[in-house]
Amino acid sequence: MTARLFFPSQWDRRTRTLAAIGICLVFFAVIFIAAWLYGDQGQVTALKLRKLPPSWERPFGTDWLGRDMLARTLKGIRISLGVGLTAATCSACIALLLGLAAALLGRTVDRLVTWLADAAMATPHLVLLILLSFACGGGAKGVIIAVAASHWPALTRIIRAEVLQLRSADYVKLAPQLGKGPYWIARRHLLPHVAPQFLVGLLLLFPHAILHAAGLTFLGFGMPPHMPAIGVLLAESMRYLSMGLWWLAVAPGFILIVSVLAFDVLGNNVRALLDPKTLRE
């Protein structure tokens, strides 16, 4: 996978996987710590330093009010990550509950949940997001509710299928014959299969949630202008692109893409680490 491209080939698969996970975690730690260290920089205006292109002193340049773009980008991505993480976590929890309910509570519940998931998947994603965010009054709350309420169907289906498949597996049917009770079977047989699916599903939801939160904000249905999330920065930069201030859009966009990719790498490597088939390669 991606880990193979970046690390020496004499490392084994496990070391490369752990290294990739470590680098992703360090990357996120750096974002949060740097955003915190910058204090109120990025909010104060310095009219003498307006519209400076990227330089060694200011790697991301400054905007039309002289605010440092590196500070603004780091703070923006921190807000976006926070919103994305909250939304993805809520969404994954909804998916876990609905998936388990569909698989365990009988045919009627299963039909209902499957129908809901189909309906949510059949609705155009962005339209649903805009509607929900608008209905919830916009802002961080609106974005979180909209993203949480629209991203659960895929993971719900995965968890439902996993549990249904487990329930019909020979080794699960065999456990009661060895004298094991339902609670023991749920903890020892079901949990070790469902937990990794949930964790990896959660990690792979983050990029979607972050991108959609940024997209909603960019379109004006998300965070308000005084919360400089990545979507707000990108939306503001549009007005200055034609004036040649390209760095206002490129720098935050680049950091957004890198963060999203980092979550993708993290999810795929955690999956490789949790699966016994790839665990020891």
Binding site: D170, Y171, V172, Q177, G179, K180, R188, P276, R280
Partner: protein, 212 residues
């Protein structure tokens, strides 16, 4: 005595009967063969005898009492595909421990090396896994062992080795054995008698193979 009295089974109301009024008795220490072509319900019968499924009519009794609803079942079933009968996320040691602490002498008897116990199922071969499953099924509480095509996917050498051990253990512990197989020669060699319910019925359409 493991008794099946007038068992009838079908998978749904619209389905054909797989068997009707089937009687079967296995005494402790007795080895009974059950031959018959594919798709006739041999495995289904084994699942009913081991308590995995409930018969539509009829009853299964162990020493005059029905199979226990909970707790360890004295009738244990061995599957044709051991890789489906073990949790792929468990190491072999955990798989064995599900049935309680495995007997060290039994492990040695079946040639299970201690190194296998720290491996995952995909790191073991079919024969090695089947022996793990066998140890799991052969706790001290097991009275009857149902072997559903247990060795049909193993090579003749492992097949002979496993059966030799199983026969030895069955004799020592006075286990009742039901051997389900297509292999007439194997059944003739192993069993005291064969039960011909599935071998004789002919009202299912038979599979005909034609080569162009």
């Amino acid at each position: 005595m493991l008794e099946a009295n007038r068992l009838s089974f079908r998978y749904g109301r619209q389905q054909q009967w797989l068997f009707q009024n089937l009687d079967l008795r296995i005494a402790p220490g007795e080895i009974v063969g059950l031959p018959g072509p594919s798709g006739r319900g041999k495995s289904t019968l084994a699942k009913i005898l081991a308590g995995y499924l409930t018969a539509v009519h009829g009853s299964v009794l162990v020493d005059g009492r029905p199979l226990p609803k909970s707790g360890y079942c004295p009738v244990q079933l061995l599957f044709q595909h051991p890789e489906l009968a073990v949790n792929p996320r468990w190491k072999a040691g955990d798989i064995l421990a599900e049935a309680g602490q495995p007997d060290a002498a039994l492990l040695q008897d079946l040639g299970i090396e201690p190194a296998w116990l720290t491996r995952y199922p995909h790191e073991l071969s079919g024969g090695e896994l089947q022996r793990i499953c066998l140890v799991r099924a052969l706790t001290a509480h097991t009275r009857y062992l149902l072997c559903d095509e247990m060795t049909s996917m193993l090579d003749p050498l492992s097949q002979a080795h496993i059966w030799q051990k199983v026969l030895h253990i069955a004799e020592k512990r006075k286990l009742g054995l039901l051997v389900i197989s297509h292999d007439k020669a194997l059944l003739d060699k192993l069993c005291h008698r064969t039960h011909h319910y599935f071998a004789t019925i002919a009202d299912f359409p038979l599979l005909t193979i034609r080569f162009p």
